[in-house]
Amino acid sequence: MPGLAKTIKGLWSLIVGLGVTGVEFFRPQLTVHYPRKEVDNLATYRGHIDLVARDDDPLTPRCIVCRKCVAACPSGCIAIESRLVGAEPGGDARELSLAPGLIVTGSHAAPPPRQKIRREVAAFHLNYNLCSLCGLCVQTCPVQSLAFSREAYLCGSSRADFEFELLERLRRRAPAGGQRAA
């Protein structure tokens, strides 16, 4: 009669299974009703990158235009436009508005480096369509000028909606009436 015993055991297994689903039926739901509630793990979500402002100036990014992130990116998402900025003894910024990379500082065409001249971001383009969120750019940045945003709810109807200008985003994020800190 091992066959019969096996059958009875099998039938019992069906009842056990029904018991499991029966108990689950009365347990609370796990679904998060999206528009009414949100999931609670957005704090660790890693969205597209954003520029980080300098500690003393919420309008200027820390970026030193080393372009390491551009080189690191596997998908070629990042493009940076820059300009040269030289500080006058008085402290005013004097824009040289030279085409980036055209004239090398210190060459005969450029004005002699009377004072410290540095590069500044003119525009930081991110093509989020291509980004695979690997985080290599953030890891590479020597001055921690890049950070992940928490934008989980991005949507758009065309590719152009995901081509971001990060400098603009930084300026928009800055506190209202954000002036250069004295």
Binding site: V16, T21, N41, R46, L133, G135
Partner: protein
């Protein structure tokens, strides 16, 4: 009418060149399972010749999502190739991460801090549990049980939440770096992992009650797709498919890497090599992974999570390297050839699903269509990994 599609010889290259079995008579049916079919879980296509409900011959057709992953390796720098690894097998992405990172580390002689090794073990095993959970649900979906996949996903979501804490993403992780991992584990991660393991241990008996003991499921799995060890060897099957046939070959034990030698865990094996054994092996592996994670959490030392000396523009010395890790589906191997330049000269990815799929043609021969679906599910194939 013009074009009479019924009399026109139709079908693509594969159907036209499909050779029916020699003794085939007129009333055989050539059926395309896929590329869009509910039980192939992706764009796999199997051309089958059927006599009634019996499969006379089955022939897998590959390449529907070939993405040239290997070729991409030759045009990207060593580091830029990292995110590709999460997309080969999206279910056990961290194992592929590990295989590539490990290969480059071996080639370039990069030292990995001990804490990073433990972090890798913990996250990779968590990922293995989530991969097996998804297989469990999807396999039962193939067998017509709809509910288990939702229960599996409830737990899988928690694993993804935990992994999101450190990796920032939920599926195609790109977390391991040459010489470590990209972010350190925080207290929150460790606590959440401990909580999850505690709760998950109570879930496994529930899974067994709902499914494993079920008479109908046993009828669908026992003695179905019996894979003799000799045949598994012949096809180069690895992972739970091979272990289900009774050989305790686990890369973590056979070719020890990282800190696995210092961890205490069993390698579950089956006896008959049927679908039920493969099922049992995978469920037992989840329990083993829990044990591994618990030990690793205890033993994890303090220290840096990444080796700071790795150069950004890494140029490993010219040479060849092969590095294998144990993924959810079997042995994941990465074979790299470097010419000393900034890019790999050649990348070869050994994907376990590719080898395991080849078994299907022979296993499915002479079975019922329903059994073939059960066999296909029990092999646990991830189609992007097959095509790469």
């Amino acid at each position: 009418m013009g074009f009479n599609w019924l009399s026109e010889p139709r079908g693509d290259y594969y159907t036209r060149h499909f050779v029916p079995t020699p003794e085939a008579e007129g009333d055989r049916l050539i059926l395309n399972l896929g590329p869009q079919h509910p039980s192939t879980h992706g764009v796999l296509r199997v051309v089958v010749e059927m006599d009634g409900e019996y499969i006379m011959k089955a022939e897998p057709v590959l390449g529907y999502i070939h993405r040239m992953q290997e070729k991409m390796g030759e045009v990207k720098t060593w580091r830029q190739y990292l995110p590709n690894m999460g997309r080969v097998d999206y279910l056990h992405a961290l194992a592929w991460n590990w295989a590539y990172v490990g290969a480059v580390e071996k080639l370039a002689g990069i030292e990995v801090p001990p804490r990073a090794e433990y972090i890798r073990v913990i996250t990779c095993e968590l990922n293995r549990i989530s991969s097996h959970l998804l297989w469990w649900g999807a396999y039962l979906l193939d067998l017509g049980a709809f509910t288990p996949i939702l229960y599996a996903f409830a737990d899988r979501e928690r694993i993804m939440d935990i992994l999101q804490m450190v990796t920032g993403s939920r599926l195609t992780y790109c977390y391991y770096r040459f010489g470590g991992v990209s972010a350190d584990l925080g207290e929150g991660f460790i606590q959440a992992t401990r909580d999850f393991l505690k709760q998950f241990k109570t879930r496994i008996p529930m899974f067994h009650d709902l499914v494993t003991g079920n008479m109908i499921l046993r009828g669908r799995c026992e003695q179905i797709g019996v894979l003799p060890l000799e045949m598994a060897r012949r096809y180069g099957a690895t992972g739970p498919v091979l272990r289900g046939s009774g050989l305790a070959y686990d890369t973590r034990r056979a070719e020890p890497y990282s800190v696995y030698p210092s961890l205490d865990f069993q390698v579950p094996v089956g006896v008959n090599g049927d679908a039920m054994d493969r099922y049992d092996v995978r469920l037992a592996e989840m329990t083993q992974s829990i044990a591994i994670i618990e030990q690793a959490l205890e033993a994890m030392p303090d220290g840096p999570h990444i080796n700071p000396d790795v150069h950004e523009r890494l140029k490993p010395p010219a040479g060849e390297v092969y590095y294998a890790v144990e993924g959810g589906r079997g042995k994941i191997g990465v074979h790299l050839i470097s010419d000393g330049g900034p890019r790999p000269y050649r990348v070869k990815l050994r994907s376990p699903s590719f080898c395991n799929l080849q078994l299907f043609a022979e296993l499915a021969q002479g079975t019922l269509l329903a059994d073939a679906v059960s066999i296909l599910g029990s092999l646990d194939l991830v189609i992007p990994e097959i095509d790469r």
